[in-house]
């Protein structure tokens, strides 16, 4: 094709040219049909794999269905039963506890770490790599390692023993189980949050700090008056993703407390849905539970967005 090499030349030529305003972006003949062609896989996926199923879940949640016999319509029975189901309420409580503790704590720690890592010193790249390593490792493998760290003869108990503190049962202890899982999740979630905060920190113009220093502002006041306000968009953004992610916690719980070992101390919403739907084949019940979870996440996200005006400063 002769046009191809010409295109290649144009690409090379234009690479050196600055991007100009899009002049020729008006509707052109046949664009709609081309767009449909390019979007076909996405549209099918949206209809069959996400939008459709979200509505289907609502329908299924009104039935009793074990997948062996035809579904029976039972109205809102599943929802009523869920609200009276101790195990579901525990799952809801545990997930809420996990979210409320791990999100603010994780973000605060990440902010502190990002501030510390935002230094222009030699070797910082290597140190950053060490900090970012937990990012790519599966929660499954990480949970195994922490299971060992928390085990009766594991490192954590050895440290406690050396300090004269009695050994704890951690994930096997009903009260300590959830905090133990939270500690691990915060450790694993840190790198991603640190990366976002670092990007935010590096976007703050140095002149702001210089000006503040001239005015005699100290380190703490510079952080409070400049860094923190200018970082609020990053904090807001990270917060919403952390919130939604926390509600979906599953892998750690599955590996460390399978199946909700210390009584019901560690079952979470997703664990409950998994158990009801794919172990007990109560499809209607699982669907109802996932709709409740969806509503909770939606409401929490909307409420969180409502707070935006009060504390997020956009430049």
């Amino acid at each position: 094709m002769t046009s191809t090499s010409r295109v290649g030349d144009q690409v090379r030529a234009a690479k050196t040219r600055p991007a100009r305003a899009r002049s020729n972006r008006g509707p052109r003949a046949g664009e709609g049909r081309w767009a449909l062609l390019f979007l076909a896989p996405t549209l099918i996926g949206l209809a069959v794999l996400s939008a459709g199923p979200i509505l289907a879940t609502l329908g299924i949640s009104l039935t009793k269905w074990d997948m062996l016999t035809p579904p029976q319509v039972v109205g809102l029975d599943n929802y009523a039963n869920l609200l009276g189901d101790d195990r579901f309420l525990r799952a809801l409580g545990n997930t809420t506890f996990y979210t409320v503790v791990s999100v603010p704590l994780g973000l605060t720690l990440a902010l502190a770490l990002a501030t510390a890592l935002n230094q222009r010193i030699r070797g910082i790249a290597w140190i950053r790599t060490a900090y970012f390593l937990p990012l790519v490792t599966s929660a499954t493998a990480i949970a195994l390692v922490w299971l060992w760290i928390y085990s009766p003869t594991g490192p954590l108990n050895d440290i406690l023993a050396a300090l004269g503190i009695p050994r704890q049962r951690w994930v096997a202890d009903p009260t300590l189980a959830m905090p133990s899982i939270i500690a691990m999740s915060i450790w694993q979630g840190l790198p991603a949050n640190v990366i976002i905060f670092l990007a935010g920190l590096q976007g703050i113009p140095a002149e702001y700090y210089d000006a503040a220093s001239v005015d005699g502002a100290g380190r703490a006041s510079r952080f409070r008056r400049i860094t923190l306000p200018l970082l609020t968009p990053s904090i807001f953004f990270t917060g919403v993703l952390a919130l939604i992610g926390a509600f979906q916690v599953f892998d750690q719980v599955y590996v460390m407390a399978n199946p909700g070992k210390p009584g019901q101390a560690t079952i979470t919403l997703v664990y409950f849905i998994y158990e009801a739907g794919f172990r007990n084949f109560k499809m209607g019940y699982a669907a109802a539970a996932s709709w409740i979870m969806f509503l909770i996440v939606a409401v929490a996200t909307i409420l969180y967005f409502r707070t935006q005006d009060r504390w997020v400063h956009y430049q």
């Binding site: 010409r6 144009q10 100009r20 979200i54 790599t129 900090y131 790519v136 709709w291």
Partner: protein, 287 residues
Amino acid sequence: MTARKLAKRVGVYVALLLGGLAMMIPFLWMLATSLKTRAEVFSTSPLSYPTGLHWENYTKMWFALPSVTFGTFFQNSIVIASLATAGQLITCSMAAYAFAVFDFRGKRVLFALILATLIIPFQIVLVPNFILYRYLPWPFSESGNWIGTNLPLWVWAFFGGAFGTFLLRQFFLTIPSELADAARVDGANPWQIFRKVYVPLARPALATLAIFQFMWSWNDLLDPLIYLRDLPSYTTTVGLAFFQGQYVGKWPEMMAGALVSLLPMVILFLIAQKYFVRGITLSGLKG
């Protein structure tokens, strides 16, 4: 440099190194424990060095399960993650191109809809998707449908995705439209412009998407747990979780398994660190 400044700088280094160590310690313990004997794990302090390097734990782990080796899990994970990555690269770049260069009715609404799926907890579709795959026929599986095969773990990837579409659209918008105009003058149709101009220029963004999708598929636990039924079809994560249930207390082997399972991702990370960082900063999405 004054003495005070020097002391401060040393302080920062020490604090950063200690923090880095804290992040690395679980990995170091994993490595140390994987090289100890089982007796050693229980009798000596976990904080001690292994007395000898018992690499045989890795062989034991590899061949621990009766009918399959850990290599089978690896192979399954690689096949699923590669197919899912290919699907996302092809269909997300197509959708992103449509959003970046075409004008059509309903464009804004459709894009908003796709972005909305980013913040919807995907568990909402677990049940209906399971039912869908249950009714899709497949002659080669025991069930006669898609349950028990790896199809539900990668076929979806050939039907677009919010993260990839968003990421690539942002990148495509930075490509000067003169390039496309010039190609059009030369008689290229939109598909040729997409293939010869946009895709080659978007290589860095495509690499970012590829790495993230590969990592997500590799690390996923819930979906393989739901859809895979027999041991030879397990991925590394499900295999590892299964292994843990079977070999309670065999810490050296278990740590060896965990370490081997995350090695590919760690190597990928060390090679392509900048793409990981860029992807997270651009989208805020986590591993």
